[in-house]
């Protein structure tokens, strides 16, 4: 059925006429895709918010939507035919002129399917299962054309599309009368068509769509990457001193004498890197070398030699709303401790984006094998409507001595595309293990903005301390200090009036679960607040910090001071496992590692708020 369609058989003039149409179509498509992307982000956000409030234990006798208790005789609730959940009468939406209803979540799902045209793609997939959603005929034609004829044409800026009046250029041959000279270069043809179209579109003043069209012109894949790249930049403070806010100056310029004294010692250290080399701090080149060596020595987040596969099966029971992951075995795993040829593997799962300990499931630990057999089933209670917003992450870990964990590889499966209804997808299957997915969290969670921060570990790096560190004594040195400057935030979910009265809370959870909490002043009436506020956490040591986590939350102050609104949160440092570097894949985690491993140096970070 898939015929090879291309523009080859057409005469040059015809081809140009059709190309014009294709480019116009592409502009329409770009706008449409952007609209759909926004809708989906919004929905995922809703789902993710819902997910937080749903208790992991699904209670039979409570409404699946509002968690209200259901009675035995009165207000028993009824089962939604969409998701098979029992919901109370409040959480139902009735379809027009019928007594049929859907629960609130299924109804929202339905709305989104309508708005995105998803319903059509689903229907169409019944006949053309291989057809992608967005590969329109026009896009394919354009692609084949661009591949076949390597002419360097600058496509015209499409005219603004006025909705009711329709885009202007008709491709009737009659209008082509003005392009009589068939030999004219293609550029000229495009040029004249463009001016022709521009003339026609002058009268329209739909400036917004004009801008949008320019930004997402033909043949560019709209600026998707722009925002992401911001979070990747780790700018060393030394190159940015000039632009530093005043508030930071005293912190940055402190006691240079103390730092420069043990110069000889440092050089000595850098040539012989040890896990503790980074305590030397002071000299930049020295500390840079030590960062690398530190990471490899610790081994925890060395993804270099991930090998092997994992075998598991995935089932979902719509009746009980339970997702079952049957972990069967692994083979050819890398050694957790390469030198000792030791490997005590176990498997851990999360239903991302939930990374809480409640959402964690683990198998037992197998001893001394790189080909372990588990035969264990890990279960989650999750509603069908939630599945689409989740990613199953299956990771394999080595449990070393002193509960040290080594990452052995992972598999991540987006459940949105998983067909739970198809029995063939329920079979056991081998999946190759991979290194930590880069920025997974950032790419799957809708961002609620970015928080600009700057951090430094202030640590009295006297010779005595260095000695201690070298000897490997890991005693807490209560003189340490974590300086954390909350610079500002942008792209926050603002109020309807476009402003916020925002503030930041910082909570440092130490390994003994002791919490140090600090709060910034409120930045009034600002959409992009600039707090430039320093949090100073006193009495912490680097080794403590490596097992601590810092949670930063941005809030919008409630008008009457009752319920402040959570705008977003970012987390740095170790997770509930207490294993440093377990999730070191994301840029912010790497930057955090850098803060910890280069004391007395400022590190700038852009944290994505979720």
């Amino acid at each position: 059925m898939a015929r090879d369609v291309n523009l080859n058989s057409l005469q040059e003039l015809e081809r140009e006429v059709i190309l014009q149409v294709l480019y116009r179509d592409q502009a329409v498509q770009n706008i449409e895709e952007e609209r759909i992307r926004k809708l989906k982000t919004h929905l995922q956000h809703l789902r993710w918010k819902g997910a937080k409030s749903v208790s992991p234990e699904y209670k039979e006798k409570s409404c699946a939507r509002c968690q209200r208790e259901l009675g035995l005789l009165l207000n028993r609730g009824a089962v939604c035919k969409g998701c098979s959940h029992r919901v109370c009468s409040e959480c139902r939406v009735f379809l027009r002129k019928t007594s049929a209803w859907k629960c609130t979540v299924c109804f929202e799902d339905r709305n989104v399917k309508i708005k995105t045209g998803e319903w059509f793609f689903e229907e169409r997939a019944k006949k053309f299962p291989t057809e992608g959603k967005h590969g329109t005929a026009g896009a394919k034609l354009l692609q084949s054309y661009q591949e076949l004829s390597k002419i360097s044409v600058v496509p015209p800026t499409p005219p603004p599309l006025s909705e009711s009046q329709c885009s202007s250029s008709s491709n009737r041959l009659q209008e082509l009368g003005q392009f009589k000279g068939f030999n004219k270069s293609v550029e000229n043809l495009f040029l004249s068509v463009t001016t022709h179209m521009k003339k026609l579109s002058k009268s329209q003043n739909d400036m917004t769509s004009d801008k949008q069209l320019r930004a997402t012109g033909p043949r560019q894949c709209a600026g998707r990457t722009e925002r992401r790249s911001q979070s990747d930049t780790a700018i060393n403070v030394t190159t940015r001193k000039a632009s530093m806010p005043d508030i930071l100056k005293p912190l940055n310029q402190e006691s240079p004498r103390r730092l420069t004294s043990p110069v000889l010692k440092q050089e000595d250290l850098s040539s012989r890197p040890t896990p503790s080399a980074f305590f030397s701090g002071g000299l930049r080149h020295a500390s840079l070398i030590s960062i690398n060596s530190t990471c490899t020595e610790m081994g925890n987040f060395d993804n270099a030699n991930i090998t092997g596969e994992i075998e598991f099966a995935l089932r979902y029971c719509f009746k009980t709303c339970s997702l079952e992951i049957c972990i069967k075995a692994c083979k050819n795993l890398a050694y957790g401790e390469e030198k000792k040829k030791k490997c005590n593997p176990y498997v851990k799962t999360y239903l991302l984006p939930d990374r809480s300990s409640q959402g964690k499931r683990k198998t037992g630990v197998q001893k001394n094998t790189v080909d372990p057999t588990f035969q264990e089933t890990l279960k989650y209670q999750v509603e069908p409507s939630q599945l689409g917003a989740r990613w199953l992450q299956v990771s394999v870990w080595h449990l070393g001595t002193l509960t040290r964990r080594v990452f052995l590889g992972e598999v991540t499966i987006p459940l949105a595309t998983w067909d739970f209804e198809d029995s063939t997808t329920q079979c056991f299957c081998w999946y190759p293990l991979r290194a930590k997915a880069e920025k997974l969290e950032d790419s799957i969670l809708p961002s609620n903005g970015e928080l600009e921060v700057r951090a430094k570990l202030v640590f009295p790096a006297g010779p005595r301390k260095l000695q201690e560190a070298q000897e490997g004594t890991d005693q807490p040195s209560p003189n340490g200090q974590l300086c954390f400057v909350v610079l500002g935030a942008k792209n926050l979910p603002v109020r309807s009036d476009g402003t916020l009265n925002s503030f930041v809370k910082g909570c440092l959870t130490l390994p003994d679960q002791h919490k140090l909490k600090l709060k910034s002043p409120v930045a009034k009436k600002q959409a992009c607040p600039q707090w430039k506020h320093s949090f100073v956490f006193n009495g912490v040591s680097p080794s403590q910090l490596r097992q601590s986590s810092l949670e930063l939350t941005v809030w919008d102050q409630a008008i009457f001071g009752v319920n402040d609104r959570l705008l977003g949160e970012a987390r740095l440092g170790s997770k509930e496992d207490g294993a440093a570097g377990e999730d070191s894949g994301s840029p912010s985690e790497r930057q955090w590692q850098k803060v910890l491993s280069s004391p007395n140096l400022w590190t700038d970070m852009t944290l994505i708020l979720h």
Binding site: V17, R76, S89, R92, W101, K102, G117, E123, R124
Partner: protein, 220 residues
């Protein structure tokens, strides 16, 4: 016909203000039956007697308001000439609905309807909505295809039927709006098939805020 369906939409005005979606529609039929003229009449409210055969494909965008709902239509005008067939059929897959047109003064164009219908069955999704349109009904004197034959064929093929004139602006708007309506019905149906109570019921894609009938509370 169209007026009967209007009441079905938009009872609840405020609940879905920004309801906004896009339908893709394809116009097909023999060359010179008046496809381009039909689209120009609908989108620009213009008509030219001169015949300029369409090269390949073209489209226009028009947003209509069905009561509360903004529906953006991308209407594809295809060339009737055989030589463009590979390009035009490539667009069938993206279309939710079709306007299949013939010329009431042209027997051959009517005879081709069956073939066009087969093309739809081959290249489009299974629930493609099709309206059969006999164009140029202003030219009563030169009519060779009676309304009755048109209607019969439409019934046979399972399509709805209109006679229209791009020149005199007869049934143009109605044709498009009816097609939008049947696509909406298909959409509701496909979304609610899991629910036998809803299938086939006449409901638009919106909700009411009516309360549950009491017995529903006990249904399980």
């Amino acid at each position: 016909m169209a007026s009967a369906t209007d009441s079905r939409y938009g009872q609840k005005e405020s609940s879905d203000q920004n309801f906004d979606y896009m339908f893709k529609i394809l116009i097909i039929g023999n060359s010179s039956v008046g496809k381009t003229s039909f689209l120009f009449r609908y989108a620009d409210d213009s008509f030219t007697p001169a015949f300029v055969s369409t090269v390949g494909i073209d489209f226009k965008v028009k947003t209509i308001y069905r009561n509360d709902k903004r529906i953006k239509l991308q209407i594809w005008d295809t060339a009737g000439q055989e030589r463009y067939r590979t390009i035009t059929t490539a667009y069938y897959r993206g279309a939710m609905g079709f306007i299949l047109m013939y010329d009431i003064t042209n027997e051959e164009s009517f005879n081709a309807v069956q073939d066009w219908s087969t093309q739809i069955k081959t290249y489009s999704w299974d629930n493609a909505q099709v309206l059969l349109v006999g164009n140029k009904c202003d030219m009563e004197d030169e009519r060779v295809v009676s309304s009755e034959r048109g209607r019969q064929l439409a019934d046979h093929l399972g399509f709805e039927f209109f006679e229209a004139s791009a020149k005199d602006n007869i049934n143009v708007k109605q044709t498009f709006e009816r097609l939008v309506d049947v696509i909406c019905e298909k959409m509701s149906e496909s979304l609610d098939t899991a629910d036998p109570a809803v299938t086939g019921a006449k409901q638009g894609p919106q909700l009411t805020d009516q309360q549950a009938p009491p017995h529903q509370d006990c249904a399980c």
